[in-house]
């Protein structure tokens, strides 16, 4: 197969199958990303509030929310009066 610079992924695609785990992982991430971003559209939320709203375990919310902060989709808001929980919002 001829290899075109900038499109070498096609070369590897012919040689190697993408694992089901990688495909499922991508689907799962997209689903959760959409759910979190949709939930935050209505206003700032804490991890606990997000967890209740999405019916998702809190540790998972922390992991995905912090990943979305890292990727630039979500920003950290204010901490509550007890200095315990931060809110998170859509990054403008």
């Amino acid at each position: 197969m001829e290899i075109e610079k900038g499109k070498t992924f096609k070369y590897l695609k012919e040689k190697r199958e993408v694992s089901q785990q990688a495909k499922d992982g991508l689907k799962e991430f997209n689903r959760i990303k959409k759910a979190i971003l949709d939930a935050l559209k209505e206003g700032e939320l804490t991890v606990i509030q997000l967890s209740e709203k999405l019916n998702m375990p809190r540790p998972e919310v922390v992991y995905y929310l912090m990943s979305l902060v890292k990727y630039g989709f979500v920003a950290t808001g204010e901490v509550d009066d007890m200095d315990e929980y931060f809110t998170y919002k859509i990054k403008q």
Partner: protein, 433 residues
């Protein structure tokens, strides 16, 4: 990258690009010897580059490591292979070793990558970031971490869905999915083993609840939480994002514990826990920090003063052995422990627990040698055949050991050990001429 050549000559091969291997390579290179530094990770810098600060001076770890790492990377006498592992070392004669190195494809031409991160932004995949100890995600096209060396992207091919988004946005066309595994034959005159250590996996002690209770984390995870390149915006509980205010340290997790197969002291846990306690009190001024210990071993220069300083800052030291950790509904943790001074069982509540995990041997090095036997000590660290007179010597003449590959030690001792290994290697090279 010497990709086309598959038979190369060096004066020395240094295995492991951590603080000890890097120092040894630099010493040899500065004396005019050609060195190949082989590192299995995507960046050199070892475990030290992941740390927040160092004890007992509280110097920023990155500020010490980064210039060193860049000096190693830029040195004309040092060739670095990252993402590479030794598959075999064969001693033919004195000053004559044949080393086989297997280099995994990075799928990025390092020399052409400008670390612009456009591929990272374009990549749709998110998987746990091993360099943040899985507390946050990273992309499949990613720069390992911000102070990585080489600072270049890499493709995690196991997680990649081959969508081509990274290639499309890469301005320098440095992404190359045609790269393949390379096996390289190296001729060298001497070998330095700086294969470092492994951290104890607390899953081995189920009664501590690590893995099950998300607010029980390892000291390395806390180290990341305290580093400037931290996974969260501040120190938070991974269980629910709460800012913790009652934090416990469990010392000797996987050290001095024959039941998990590691009866020896790891030498660094007391001091790094005291360091983290001080940093936590700086980051979270309202927090209570308690350290549960068997003995505090503050044996080094400035260590006892550092310990006393922590006490003075209000860190609570409890001589107690943890029996069991259990989780409450709100994610807080109950520690059941034996108060060693009073000889009674007690319970205490904390909202986050840090397990001060110990140092375990990295046994990889013994498998490198097919002809000769690399002897290990009773604890599976590399055996120093003449520890008092010639501490870098191993059971194979011409093969030297540097850093924690020979046993638990702190950073200054690792650097001293690397100095000794490089000096001995140089003597060996000169005698062989």
């Amino acid at each position: 990258m010497n990709g086309a050549t598959n038979h190369l000559n060096f004066d020395a091969v240094v295995v492991g690009g951590g603080v000890a291997g890097g120092e040894a390579a630099l010493n040899l290179a500065s004396n005019g010897y050609k060195v190949l530094l082989v590192e299995k990770e995507l960046s050199i810098g070892g475990k030290m580059i992941m740390l927040s600060k160092v004890f007992p001076t509280l110097d920023c770890a990155a500020c010490i490591t980064t210039p060193k790492v860049s000096e190693i990377s830029r040195h004309p006498n040092i060739t670095i292979y990252t993402g590479s592992e030794i598959s075999n070392i064969n001693k033919i004669a004195e000053n004559n070793f044949e080393v086989t190195v297997v280099k995994q494809p990075r799928y990025v031409v390092v020399e052409d990558c400008t670390a612009c991160q456009l591929c990272e932004q374009a990549c749709p995949v998110s998987v746990p970031d091993q360099y943040q100890y899985n507390m946050v995600g990273r992309k499949a096209a990613f720069i390992p971490f911000s102070i990585a060396s080489p600072k270049a992207a890499a493709i995690d091919i196991e997680s990649c869905v081959l969508c081509g988004a990274c290639e499309k946005v890469c301005p320098t066309h440095c992404i190359d999915f045609t790269q393949e595994v390379q096996t390289l034959q190296i001729d060298t005159k001497t070998v330095i083993l700086a294969t470092g250590f492994k951290l104890f996996d607390p899953l081995m002690i189920p009664r501590y609840g690590f893995g099950m209770y998300k607010n029980v984390i390892t000291s390395m995870q806390m180290e990341r939480e305290l580093a400037p390149t931290r996974p969260f915006n501040t120190v938070l509980r991974p269980g629910d994002g709460k800012v913790p205010d009652k934090i416990a340290y469990v010392l000797c997790t996987g050290s001095r514990d024959a039941t998990v197969g590691n009866p020896i002291c790891s030498q660094i846990c007391c001091m790094y826990s005291i360091k983290q306690a001080q940093l936590l009190m700086g980051a979270l001024p309202m927090a209570d920090v308690t350290i549960y210990y068997i003995n505090i071993r503050s044996f080094g220069k400035g260590f006892e003063e550092f310990y006393q300083q922590a006490k003075g800052m209000g860190v609570n030291f409890v001589k107690g052995k943890i029996g069991k950790i259990s989780e409450q509904d709100n994610g807080n943790l109950t520690l059941r422990y034996e108060d060693i001074n009073e000889g009674i069982l007690k319970e205490a509540d904390h909202d986050m627990v840090i397990l001060s995990v110990g140092v375990l041997p990295n046994k990889d090095a013994s498998a490198f040698f097919s002809q000769d036997e690399l002897q290990l000590d009773p604890y599976n660290f590399i055996y120093q055949t003449d520890e008092l007179v010639s501490p870098a010597r191993t059971s194979i003449p011409g093969v030297f050991v540097a850093g924690t590959a020979s046993g638990p030690m702190d950073i200054p001792d690792s650097i001293l050990s690397a100095g000794s290994a490089s000096s001995e290697a140089i003597s060996y090279l000169i005698n062989g001429q």
